[in-house]
């Protein structure tokens, strides 16, 4: 924690994340308008006192939609990464612990998955399933577990023959106990770092999908689909592109700063300076 405090950028990242999380959490309490309230008499109004971030093509308040969009974007990030982390830990632990042909098999699956351009795979899958927020979270999760699998496996391989593990094994600990009580707690650091960075990319993927119209479906707001709504009017309704763009940028930046900071803080080799 001390390392964290010494790095102002990490703190900035943390501050950004916490404030966006907070805003998303209390969105229903602070939104000035119903995010889906249509007003065809107030179409595409520029930012003003009445509408902090202006209104969109159907006269909906962009600020309110941004706040609700934050909930969607962040939820997609967390759930998708949750799924990816779960799968990653499970497969990585099996591969690293049992080694042999199980390891070979899992690693080859990882190689195959890594060789597929993920975004296009997601596009194809979403085009087949109906695009909904749940499908998106699951699909992003199911296509982004490979990095964590590799990390966990590598950690397990190096920890597997350490004395404390051998000792535990000699005392008769079952595989399950070895994996979850001894090996996993000692591999948590890289998993956390990788997950935090993963959230950033999940937020990006969701925005990208929504931008292409395959993400969160109307009338629900997400940053990606506010952005895509704004594309049409970019020449004179700049607020429809600027605010969601900034929000995506800040969130991804925040997670990346935090992730990098965490990595540096826990990396023994970066302790020197």
């Amino acid at each position: 924690m001390k390392m964290l405090r010494q790095n102002p950028l990490t703190l900035l990242g943390l501050a950004i994340i916490v404030s966006i999380l907070l805003l998303a959490l209390i969105a229903p309490l602070i939104v000035p308008y119903d995010p889906n309230a249509i007003d065809v008499k107030a179409i595409l109004l520029a930012p003003s006192k009445l509408h902090m971030m202006g209104t969109d093509g159907l006269g909906r308040d962009v600020f309110s939609r941004m706040l609700y969009g934050a909930r969607i974007s962040l939820m997609v990030g967390f759930v998708a990464v949750g799924i990816a982390t779960f799968i990653g830990i499970l497969l990585g632990a099996i591969a690293g612990f049992y080694r042999g042909w199980v390891d070979t098999l899992i690693m080859r699956i990882v190689d195959v998955m890594l060789s597929i351009p993920t975004f296009f795979l997601i596009l194809a899958v979403i085009a087949f399933l109906s695009p909904s927020i749940w499908n998106i979270m699951v699909v992003i999760g199911l296509t982004s577990w490979m990095g964590i699998t590799r990390l966990v496996r590598a950690e397990f391989l190096s920890l597997r023959n350490r004395e404390f593990v051998l000792a535990a094994q000699a005392l008769g600990a079952k595989d399950f106990r070895l994996i979850f009580c001894h090996l996993l707690p000692n591999s948590l650091t890289p998993i956390i770092v990788s997950s935090v960075l993963g959230i950033a990319s999940a937020v990006l993927v969701e925005s990208g999908l929504s931008f292409l119209g395959l993400g969160v479906q109307a009338p629900q707001a997400s940053w990606g689909n506010i952005l895509t709504d704004g594309k049409e009017y970019i020449q004179f309704a700049w607020w429809l592109s600027l605010f969601p763009g900034l929000a995506i940028l800040l969130t991804v930046l925040g997670y990346n700063l935090l992730g990098d900071g965490l990595r540096d803080a826990y990396n023994p080799r970066s302790h020197q300076h």
Binding site: N36, I38, G57, A127, G213, Q217, A218, P219, Q235, F236
Partner: protein, 558 residues
């Protein structure tokens, strides 16, 4: 073989609903801004020949034989190069183009076209009935990959008694026949007779008989047309038409602002919001709007419950506020419609009125149909199932926004709507053809003939055919059949008025709006009809002219 007709022409037009056709001027003559720095484009000049007009199109034609290419970009360019036997005049009445006159036999099965004398192709070869015969043979040839064949396959016998006469006989009277001949470009036999029309070099190097001929085609950049000295219809005024390929509407708009193009189609935002706020644009560029030949609608899958119940369909119709859609999505640049015909034309029944927005009537009808909110969740239900359905549409901003507005209004009467936006190919292939949908928001673009057999007749429900909503009403069927056999315009009008009435009462689709075609044309182009006749602003492009004083530095442009 008796193929359904007309339908083929409809599908390619389907995509381009809200396409822009040039028409009726409004507000192009305002004298507002007097502090001009550049030339004053409001001065009047006598017509003179010369100059270049530059316009923009979003897509590049695949070729310029319209019957093979099929896309609207090809038709737009080819329409300046090729003639048909007949054309629609400025009042939308049929008149001769290559044909000087035509006779219909007393049994209404035979049409004899008399060609104008001394017609020539752009390469000086004579244009005769043999070319017309050749074109008919090609369009009906099984080896020709054209979607337009079915209309012409109804011709049981075609003859050329002499070089000026072309005679077709139909197995039964076919009312839309003349309309079909107004849409078929006549091709030169002497250049195409030994060629595979599907892959002919002629498609990129066409020789026609109309006002212009193609002089240059730079892939991905532009097509340049120049005046045809042998034109069958006299000489156009403007020397060159340059069509630049600019796929993005926003980029086109920037080019228009920079005075690099003279005309383009606008979307409602550009027309109603951007233009009025830019004095530099309104000073030099005229705005035009016209009611297009298309409308948007929400169609039900009539094979699915509960849309087989007319009360439910009517209730939904009452629950949707069409004016709100016109105001919100089209920024007021559209009209409500009550029949599948262009308002104000002969075929549109003037006594029909759109369903007014009336949510309480909608609720009453739904109650009558057995729906009630028994569990108090705000959503109506019947037999324990909530009333919830999915609206499908393609990736089209205006349709997506329409869907959101409908979703909101239907929720107010207790119907839950989900919206699903799909890419066009999978929309057609996975949902429309196998009829896997509850409701769709789409548009129809229509030809000038009122025959809509392909869209509404109960026999046209097979996968890939156009009655994908499965509309089936024996009375409507009878009228559609009668309308194809009746050549008397008055009687024919009565038939389609009656048909429209049935359609409105049945409400198999909810008419949402007919949007205006919006366009901008630089004021250097003179001779544009104002106000425009029924055929629209584009009816007399051959009379448009650019005064010498207003020539742009054309050689530098390209």
């Amino acid at each position: 073989m008796m193929m359904p007709t007309k339908t083929t022409r409809l599908i390619q037009l389907w995509l381009v609903s809200f396409s822009v056709t040039l028409i009726s001027a409004c507000g192009s003559t305002d004298e507002g801004d007097k502090q001009t720095s550049g030339p004053d484009f409001n001065m009047a000049y006598p017509p003179s020949a010369g100059g270049t007009m530059v316009d923009a199109m979003t897509g590049e034609p695949s070729g310029l034989i319209a019957m093979i290419a099929g896309e609207s970009a090809a038709s737009a360019i080819a329409g300046n190069i090729f003639n048909s036997l007949l054309k629609y005049d400025k009042n939308l009445d049929l008149s001769g183009e290559l044909a000087q006159s035509w006779d219909v036999s007393s049994d209404q099965r035979t049409i004899t076209f008399h060609l104008k004398p001394n017609l020539k192709w752009a390469d000086h070869q004579p244009l005769t009935s043999a070319d017309v015969m050749f074109t008919w043979l090609k369009v009906t040839d099984e080896n020709t990959r054209t979607p337009y064949g079915s209309d012409f396959k109804l011709v049981s016998k075609a003859e050329t008694p002499d070089a000026q006469t072309f005679k077709v006989t139909y197995a039964a009277p076919y009312a839309p026949a003349l309309d079909t001949w107004a849409g078929l470009h006549i091709l030169p036999k002497h250049l195409l007779k030994d060629q595979d029309i599907n892959n002919s070099a002629f498609a990129r190097n066409p020789v026609g008989s109309h006002y212009y001929k193609l002089t240059e085609w730079k892939n991905g950049q532009y097509l340049k047309l120049s005046r045809n000295k042998n034109a069958s219809q006299g000489q156009a005024k403007i020397d060159h038409l340059l069509s630049r390929i600019i796929p993005d509407k926003a980029a086109q708009f920037l080019e228009l602002s920079a005075d690099n193009i003279d005309s383009m189609g606008l979307n409602p935002i550009q027309y109603a919001r951007i233009f009025p706020s830019r004095a530099d644009l309104t000073k030099n560029i005229g705005l035009y709007k016209e009611l297009g030949n298309s409308y948007s609608y929400m169609g039900f899958n009539l094979k699915r419950k509960p849309f087989d119940d007319v009360r439910v369909r009517q209730a939904i119709n009452y629950a949707i506020d069409k004016q709100e859609i016109i105001d919100g999505v089209l920024l007021g640049l559209g009209e409500p419609v009550a029949s599948p015909y262009k308002p104000g034309t002969r075929w549109s029944n003037p006594s029909l009125k759109p369903y007014p927005y009336n949510p309480s009537k909608a609720r009453a009808l739904l109650r009558e149909a057995g729906y009630a909110d028994t569990d108090g969740d705000g959503i109506l239900d019947k037999d324990g199932k909530p009333f919830s359905f999915e609206i499908l549409t393609n990736q089209n901003k205006e349709r997506e926004m329409t869907a959101v507005l409908i979703q909101r209004r239907l929720k107010e009467v207790g119907i839950e709507v989900n919206i699903r936006v799909l890419e066009w190919a999978s929309f057609l292939g996975r949902f429309i053809k196998p009829k896997q949908f509850d409701a769709v928001i789409l548009g129809w673009s229509l030809s000038l003939d009122p025959d809509q057999y392909g869209i509404w007749h109960s026999s046209q429900q097979a996968p890939g055919q156009f009655n994908f909503i499965s509309y089936n009403n024996p009375q409507a069927d009878k009228l559609l059949e009668a309308g194809r056999l009746e050549l008397n315009p008055e009687k024919r009008m009565q038939i389609y008025h009656a048909f429209s009435k049935i359609l409105l009462d049945d409400s198999p689709v909810i008419y949402l709006s007919a949007g205006y075609g919006l366009s901008a044309i630089h004021k250097r182009v003179k001779g544009i009809s104002n106000p425009a006749p029924a055929a629209g602003i584009g009816h007399n492009t051959y009379e448009w002219h650019i005064p010498k004083a207003y020539y742009r530095n054309e050689m530098n442009d390209q």
